[in-house]
Symmetry: D2
Subunit: 350 residues, 4 copies
Amino acid sequence: MEALVLERKDELSLRDFPQIDRDEAVLGPRDVRIKLHTVGICGSDVHYYTHGRIGPFVVNAPMILGHEASGTVIETGSEVTTLKPGDRVCMEPGIPDPNSRATRLGLYNIDPAVRFWATPPVHGILRPTCVHPEAFTFKLPDNVSFAEAAMVEPLAVGVHAATKARIRPGDIGVVLGAGPIGLVTALSALAAGCARVYVTDLAEKKLEIAASLSPAIIPVHAARESITDRVKAETGGWGADVVFEATGAPKAAAGVFEPLAPGGCVVMIGGQPDPISYDAGAAMVREARVENIFRYAHVFPRCVSMLASGAIDVKPLITRTFDFKDSVRAFEIAASAPPADVKMQIELPQ
Amino acid sequence: MEALVLERKDELSLRDFPQIDRDEAVLGPRDVRIKLHTVGICGSDVHYYTHGRIGPFVVNAPMILGHEASGTVIETGSEVTTLKPGDRVCMEPGIPDPNSRATRLGLYNIDPAVRFWATPPVHGILRPTCVHPEAFTFKLPDNVSFAEAAMVEPLAVGVHAATKARIRPGDIGVVLGAGPIGLVTALSALAAGCARVYVTDLAEKKLEIAASLSPAIIPVHAARESITDRVKAETGGWGADVVFEATGAPKAAAGVFEPLAPGGCVVMIGGQPDPISYDAGAAMVREARVENIFRYAHVFPRCVSMLASGAIDVKPLITRTFDFKDSVRAFEIAASAPPADVKMQIELPQ
Amino acid sequence: MEALVLERKDELSLRDFPQIDRDEAVLGPRDVRIKLHTVGICGSDVHYYTHGRIGPFVVNAPMILGHEASGTVIETGSEVTTLKPGDRVCMEPGIPDPNSRATRLGLYNIDPAVRFWATPPVHGILRPTCVHPEAFTFKLPDNVSFAEAAMVEPLAVGVHAATKARIRPGDIGVVLGAGPIGLVTALSALAAGCARVYVTDLAEKKLEIAASLSPAIIPVHAARESITDRVKAETGGWGADVVFEATGAPKAAAGVFEPLAPGGCVVMIGGQPDPISYDAGAAMVREARVENIFRYAHVFPRCVSMLASGAIDVKPLITRTFDFKDSVRAFEIAASAPPADVKMQIELPQ
Amino acid sequence: MEALVLERKDELSLRDFPQIDRDEAVLGPRDVRIKLHTVGICGSDVHYYTHGRIGPFVVNAPMILGHEASGTVIETGSEVTTLKPGDRVCMEPGIPDPNSRATRLGLYNIDPAVRFWATPPVHGILRPTCVHPEAFTFKLPDNVSFAEAAMVEPLAVGVHAATKARIRPGDIGVVLGAGPIGLVTALSALAAGCARVYVTDLAEKKLEIAASLSPAIIPVHAARESITDRVKAETGGWGADVVFEATGAPKAAAGVFEPLAPGGCVVMIGGQPDPISYDAGAAMVREARVENIFRYAHVFPRCVSMLASGAIDVKPLITRTFDFKDSVRAFEIAASAPPADVKMQIELPQ
């Protein structure tokens, strides 16, 4: 099976990877076999390519990349009831231990035993086919394209963040950071009830893209204008009901409470390798609630429903598409900073 | 002051009402005086007209009608800080006792001492001016019209219902009843995160209006199709996450649990004069949560923000507008069943 | 294997039941084999004995009774990690499908596929040994006796009800009904934060037992005194924050909103075979939240912790203990109305 | 009126303070006049004495100390309905602006306009009488003593913290810090449903007091044993459901996530003058929720109910009582570090 393999830091190759054929020869009773159609390139894929590791996860052996995926079911296990060959699907990349305490409680995303595509030592899915559990494979309605479906994985982060924020209709939101995750979070916050969402960034181009997504998204250039002053001026001094930290930058994270209203909620989305500064006094006088999120749980079918009904439109975020044979070049482009692109995707031959 | 007065059951007159001038001669320090611009006709106004009472509230003396209103501030009390003459505003019609236990807890809508416009013995606002507390008067942005602003009151019921439901993004909703409250509830449920909302009714015309509001609203004719079968068929047998009862009809209310998913929520909006039938077994096997709502609290400024940003559009619901001088005729039309209209409004001379 | 078998309605026998030996000959990798020690007699066991059915569940073939149990692990499957032979344990009687949608969401108690001991066609555990999944078998600390541990199952209903009520410290509670479930609910409500709990019943003896459990439990004889008047008099007219319906009597259920405070919560515990009367108006003016519960989920280890720490003491509820050889007589006594006993238990030979 | 006056940093005097007589000569219609009985000494009172300021609050003029109080109503305003002369009461020391946005939402404790006793420039109540709003004055049942009632103020912090944590019955709690606030938090966490609470400190004596309060409180000496190791060992590796930070020490606060279970909650109670270190990675992998609290809201009557019913017993925390004439000496003792005492109180002449 030909796959996009990260041989080691800085070295990618598109080559045969026979081990996968052996590993996935047999289909479990609750599994399905999927022909991949579209795979998005995530910042984490690029980071493994350029750094060879993310925190404690180190690429010690050749690993197939890719975890944002859609495709078509081509074979089903003996006990599968909700899918059949020919079904168009998207897939959740993390598979938990169904018997773990966290999973039983419904918190499968924080089960330490979760196996996640393209996270060493688990292979990703930039390859022709894969085997996956029925329970984490979701059928697509006809009006959701493979390209949109491959956006469900990043969108799920935003939808999970908006869910944990417990947004009430008419809330005022702030999203710090207009990268791909910041943008899906802004869209999710609007879909979840925010009246409007202020999005900050330092890159003009990213703010333009943000502003183009909805008239209810208000771009704020973080170096030229204080988000706190802006939000307070436009809320009678009250502040934002929800602030999403989606930069992963310690400096931005240190200021999350400033634009927050009394009784408001901060959602920490951006990963932080080191401890950050926390303004406990500012948090206290507002009685802020802080939700720290890790990936997502239970939101894939919700995302599919929202794409199908038009509640969320991710198509403007898909800015470039490559053929599978050009995968290595796609990653080279994705790794060259700073991209005007939001999301690049790779299409596999059908 | 000329006002639309319900003299007694079935008798309306547009006439001078001097008592109001005397009552409102003096402005309190935290009050504002408002020149009314637009007033919507609510089903409760019509019900007082045609029945002379609603439950325990009986019209025993001539009463001015109207409680869905927008206008312009023309005078402010000495301690008012957030409004000034010339501000365009909408007003919340219920004024609670600020010292009651419910109000202190933030539950002012269920304060038994609340005084509500056009609920005997409190007069409504189908008249040139009124005096109102600053705290329940909300400034309008330039892009929200007086007509839209007078829709905030009914919209608030829908937004409050959606808030109490604690909708999560991607939920599937059902609204029983496509009257004005059913429609604003459907719009609110979508704005609050529902991927799609099924709306039922027995009147074809109402379902057409519902369907025209959004592609994510799915009309279901309650006499021709089972809402339960339809929802289950389109959710893999799971059911709806939220069911809103907005008919006030005992028969519809008796079936609220049927289309509900495990762990789902029912919101009872429609008033019921008598006890209804409650299928405790069906509620139990789903561990249903039931929220019973009464008017709204804290949502007027949220509604204004959502109208301003386009998160909710109520303009299609405003189907007819009358001059104040034609108020009596407007009520006669509104009282003639069944109206193809959703919301009729009355404009006062400026 | 000798077992207490309900041959058919009204006919019990203590006799050999070879089928179970065959069914449980092989231990799954995640299962444990348990030597039963103590089994409580539940009202549902008695109801199957005296009526041959509960709602749709009909005893069509001989069935072993019993589902409130504790015992000792005597064998473990190959993948079991948290238990070992010799561990004293209690067991959750319902086993869900781990792959169902409800179970994945953490709502395993409302998974329609759940298999529950002593619910036709699933056998109960009034027999020497049983095989059970590790995930639903909970180790006991040394200071929790087998008798207390066999009380965890009914206690779990009360703790689940108190959890769903989201009791806040200092709440005032009402429990309608002083049967075994009413009593464990009262204890759970106090442990969960209620300052005091009013318990109603029509049986003087049951109220005496209730009052003996804690000085914070206040007995109210429902035929001699209005619970609403009493609660309102002692809360400055405000009412109770939480009302638990634990009678299963339609008449009691019809009045659940009367003693409830504005913004309060009603928890429906008692099963109701038919639809009940629901005072929608009373629910609405209070904006009551109603939680309908079904058994319990995730609370067994919580109950064990509370018994161990003394947060809840169930020992006074265990009023009589029989030898296994006297099981049939124990059921005959339990079926003779009305028992002064709260909970009868059966001890198996060790 | 004789009062305990902080003249300036380090200088206390018990002397006549005529301004108060003038300020409080007239009773508002919703106010009551109270003869003070017992006043507790809070760490903040002592801090003003020894430092002359707390953060932005600076003692620039002589200020009466004291804010933990109970007493007897001696006069009532014309509109007071719930209290009468002779009623024994305790009082909430912070009075918000009833018209502020935060207060209307029920969040009066975070209203920036709140006026709080013994916080410059507002005087405290170490004096014979005071005038206070009825709404923040709470009647005591006969079985709650003045001394216990003067403990309601510090207890309210613990109860508010436990309420915000949304403790579920059977939770495992950790309280960092065994000072007065740590101890009332531990008692509140138990009353709110925790099965057991681990309390850490560096002072042996404080841990002994903690352990003496309940068999469900487990003392852990923070320098001799890792709280994380201890909790994980006794929860099968899972961790604590709730961690309360009550030390105010940056080092302790930096480690709040370590003993926390997946999906758990951290409550930040201890004030922090400077930003602290926040282990975002540890928070994220657990999807921790963090609640930051500021004083309390709506809990005084709840505390009174729990003291009356025995749900919480604060008597063991009252370790020494002084006569009003010995107030200065009482503060000198309280200021001498480290006290074996938990709570010192002052009794006024009756």
